[in-house]
Homo-oligomer: 155 residues x 2
Amino acid sequence: MSPAETVRRASPADAQALAKLLHDFQKEYDEPTPGVAALAQRYEKLLGSGEMICLLVGDGPDGFAQLRFRPTVYSDGLDAYLEELYVVPSLRGQGLGRALLEAAMETSRAEGATRMDLGTAETDVAARKLYESTGFTNREGSPDGPVMLYYEREL
Amino acid sequence: MSPAETVRRASPADAQALAKLLHDFQKEYDEPTPGVAALAQRYEKLLGSGEMICLLVGDGPDGFAQLRFRPTVYSDGLDAYLEELYVVPSLRGQGLGRALLEAAMETSRAEGATRMDLGTAETDVAARKLYESTGFTNREGSPDGPVMLYYEREL
């Protein structure tokens, strides 16, 4: 099977698997993680309430995409936010990320989204190449417009 | 009155004023705008349903902050997204943006948010200075971590 054929939508029953993947993702980038148990509990709740849509790829599962949606003033459609995109390290470079991203865009369109945004690190060259080759831009307004930066803080 | 004393929370009755401000903002940066009438209709709906919180500053009103919230798997709190922060050109440099941003953080905490994120242009030096002086970072993980980029595409 091609990676694309193994992409499926996560149900609340996948909460534990998603929690494990996100926990590993956070640890890989030295980001804080509340641990698998707390993550699983929250995934179960947010997937069950429809607050979040996740897609899984592979038998492991071996990666996931995490999507949020918000109604917007800019259009009658929804804005989609790609909150996470992750593939386990040993299976990178085989098209799993691309399959997830393409399915995430397709799912978002089916949900009524007309735009997608995301944040990523400048040094994550593989991810940036994937985003740029699938039509994403980090230039404002036009291809030679200013670079768009992502900022955050704890409150 | 100091700028901070003029900050107030927008109600659906402020939809027209918000629409006018966002329309001007979009035009200033050569971004597409659906026009004041369509924007006003959507602001009225999203403010009325609680999908969005906006803050206004000054008598004009002279600027606004636009906030979105989402429950998250990373913590028990909400993630806040600062979708827009705008002050009319003639009144910039007088602390209105800072007053809006500080009120936006305070409002977000009161709503239960524990983190805030946003996107901005590399060339918008005044905005970046404001964000950086109020505790925002665009470095991942640590102050010398990689720069975080914001990407988007139409779907």
